[in-house]
């Protein structure tokens, strides 16, 4: 998956949990990584998407993919890649199940009191 700053550089990119690692295509160790929290994934022109961060919104990390389909896949995957997104999903499902059954599904795991899973716990 190529990566495009001002100059086109071919990079291997791997999404692991909430990090996007990038490698030179022939190396085993990554050159660097982007933490994917508080970021915005934008579909740019054909085959291209960009990542920008909330504290520096004008700086875009641009990526050009081989195909438009690949590009869409990456955009989808990256938008769901943050821990915060996962947390919101968890709280949503928990709430839905509780509404349907009247019971808190996290109780069976013994984690219903955890601060991080509370509805409304993460008010901005």
């Amino acid at each position: 998956l190529p990566r495009v700053p001002a100059v086109l550089k071919k990079r291997l990119v791997k999404l692991v949990v909430n990090f996007l690692f990038y490698f030179r295509t022939d190396e085993a160790e990554p050159i660097g990584a982007l933490l994917l929290e508080h970021c915005k994934i934008t579909k740019e022109e054909e085959n291209v998407f960009s990542i920008s961060f909330i504290e520096e919104p004008e700086r875009k990390y641009c990526f050009e993919c081989a195909t438009e389909e690949q590009c869409q896949e990456w955009v989808e995957a990256l938008r769901r890649a943050s821990y915060e997104f996962l947390r919101r999903s968890l709280i949503f499902y928990r709430n839905e199940i509780q509404k349907m059954t009247g019971k808190d599904p996290l109780e069976q795991y013994g984690i219903s009191e955890e601060a991080r899973f509370q509805l409304g716990a993460h008010r901005q």
């Binding site: 998956l1 291997l12 990119v13 791997k14 999404l15 692991v16 949990v17 909430n18 990090f19 690692f21 160790e29 990554p30 050159i31 660097g32 990584a33 933490l35 929290e37 508080h38 970021c39 915005k40 994934i41 934008t42 961060f53 909330i54 504290e55 690949q70 896949e73 990456w74 989808e76 938008r79 890649a81 943050s82 821990y83 915060e84 996962l86 947390r87 919101r88 999903s89 949503f92 499902y93 928990r94 709430n95 839905e96 199940i97 599904p105 996290l106 109780e107 069976q108 795991y109 013994g110 984690i111 955890e114 601060a115 991080r116 509805l119 409304g120 716990a121 993460h122 008010r123 901005q124």
Partner: protein, 255 residues
Amino acid sequence: MKLNERSLAFYATCDSPADNAGFLYKRGERHTAYHRRWFVLKGNMLFYFEERDSREPVGVIVLEGCNVELCDSAENFAFAIRFGGSKSRTYVLAAESQAAMESWVKSLSRASFDYMRLVVRELEKQLQEMSRGLAGGCGGSQEPPGPWKPKPSGLEQSRERLPALPAILPKENGCAVWNNVLGAGRPPDTSGCGGHDEDGNPRPPPLPPRRRVSNGAGAAVAESPSTFCRLHEQYSREMARLRQDWQQRRRGPQP
């Protein structure tokens, strides 16, 4: 290895509430002296600051593929964050009280992304089974599970579908304000700020992120086999523990 440090520092210091915070003593790498640092846990990232009001963290520990355990130390209330792999180190920390130590060990051992994903998948499955049950002719008011709008990619194909749920506010990765209207049954969305899919239809509720993306390198995995093995090890240990807990609760009297 480069990191987007400014973004990391932002995440560490921004307004979003921490999952845990407090003073801990951290044992030095080369010298065994302990230094008191202000620790902040957000998601799967454990940041530490020189002082409580420092503007930037001095370090961060990414809590993936690690074990959190009590440890023998001259220091009271000590515990360790242990990573596998040949190049990895063990972080030895000490709390200021028994209660603080227990609270940290608990929150750190559940901090990984993988753990969160595990729980989300379980809940997703439960919700699916329940919806299927209701749609199976109980005459409930739930919508029957319908097919998803076909996604443009192969990424979604291996996932099971949830029934269509109501339209939701578009969101980005933590970019949007936290939506407390979640109580009204709105899942987070991936359509991007102000976006919809091509037909302008509301997006189906999101499913947790998967590692698999189609690129030439194949499945995205941890960079080294040992880290990957450790993730699996931890994953299965956690599953076994969860199962055990659940069985105990079924069998024994309610605590």
